[in-house]
């Protein structure tokens, strides 16, 4: 087998860089939306409204126990039936693969983040909340200023794992034709017959991205917990990668 690495400095390299850009955009969107979803549902479950509980349970358990790639296919192929016609036609003009992948992955990872957030909130002693309320802080205020900052510290390590998982799971978006890194590898393999070189390049890029994300997260958790004597990590029972 002869390898020709010089193709990576030509058009194939440009394709891979474009793919990297899409992967980063996808990761950023998914990360942001999954955090919003996770924060909302995690807090909702922590509050423990009996009306909302079945809905939250259904969402979290269903999203966590089904494969992300099937969820991506579901949102992609059902979009034209689920969305109102005018919205779907508008989205289709941009190519709604990207949107479907973002929605599916955000919903999938949001469920895991919800469990992390709930466990984090539960780890703060109940007395903290009662104390805040007794001192005259409102419900939202005590949650935001007393409970959340304490919960945040111990949720950082699992949230970092979740972010790395999000970067890795964006590769599944190739199943519906989002032109991210893994898709570009397939493209180069099919059109230039240079699969091994492209695959090696893509692998190295993923490794660097994940190591970078994990390293940044580690620094963040060190910074946030430097005044604590013992760090308590959380280990959610189900993992997302």
């Amino acid at each position: 087998m002869k390898l020709d690495w010089s193709i990576l400095w030509g058009d194939a390299g440009l394709l891979i860089l474009q793919g990297l850009l899409v992967t980063l955009q996808l990761s950023a969107w998914v990360l942001a939306l999954a955090f919003v979803l996770g924060l909302a549902f995690g807090t909702l479950r922590w509050i423990g409204l009996s009306v909302a509980e079945p809905v939250c349970w259904f969402y979290v358990e269903f999203a966590r126990n089904t494969p992300p790639v099937v969820q991506i296919l579901f949102w992609y192929f059902s979009a034209s039936y689920l969305l109102p016609g005018w919205l779907f036609l508008q989205l289709r003009d941009f190519g709604y693969e990207f949107g479907a992948a973002v929605a599916a992955l955000a919903i999938y990872h949001g469920a895991f983040i919800a469990e992390v957030v709930r466990a984090g909130l539960n780890s703060v002693p109940k007395g903290q909340f009662d104390g805040a309320r007794a001192l005259g802080l409102g419900f939202g205020q005590s949650l935001r200023r007393i409970i959340m900052p304490q919960a945040l510290r111990i949720t950082i390590p699992p949230l970092v794992n979740e972010s790395v998982a999000i970067i890795k799971n964006t590769s599944l978006a190739m199943a519906i034709g989002v032109t991210e890194l893994t898709y570009q590898y397939k493209h180069i393999d099919i059109f230039d017959f240079r699969g091994v070189e492209a695959l090696a390049a893509v692998t190295v890029i993923y490794m660097m991205l994940c190591t970078l994300a994990a390293g940044l997260g580690h620094l963040l958790s060190l910074r946030l917990s430097r005044h604590m004597t013992a760090r308590r990590g959380l280990r959610p029972m189900l993992t997302s990668e």
Partner: protein
Amino acid sequence: MQFERVWTAANWERLLVGDLFNKGVMGGLLLTLVLGLASIVAATLLGAGIGVMRSSPRRALSLPSAVYVQAFRSVPLLILIFWAYFFPPALGLQVSKFTSVLIALTLFTAAYIGEIVHGGIRSVASGHIEAARALGMDPLETQLRIVLPQAFFNMLPALTGRYVVSIKNTSLAFLIGLADLTEIGKQIGARLMTAPIEVYITLLMIYFIVNRGLSLLMRLLEDRRRFNRIFLRI
């Protein structure tokens, strides 16, 4: 909703066993389960080895396994599947789709299980190891008879999570053309054309039932007495 179009006897047969009875090709849920369980068993064994190495005080043992864990955890599984499927032919080797997915899934999962085992071993009090050594057990016997059984019990919740992920991850097999549950579902969806919601909800439900079932089964083991009876015969 037109579930009756999806839930025909022929479709159910294909979803559950693929073309096993027509063309003798295993597929559908059966393939997903075979692939999932085979990779779970293989990855647990490999992961136990990696975890034991990782917990060794010798750097020559712990460093390679740490590198392995770090490397395999920072690459998407899909990329590993592509390596396992497209790289061997470049070297002149023939590897079937099933084998390549199995290899990729096993290597990937073993990295995570290695970390779980490492954590489990650290959770065993060092007095147990010292006592075993004092009673004349050699290091291997200490690991096999004292450390690992206790570690295994502590690892159960994390392992359950990993096993569920393995079952979910078998769904990537369809991307290299293996007729697993997802691929069969996609084919049924493509044939019916106008019922994607029903088809994919059916798929999601099957995966949900399998994974919840697996979680509940594993939870049975989290009872100490039952665990001891099954694994330690006491």
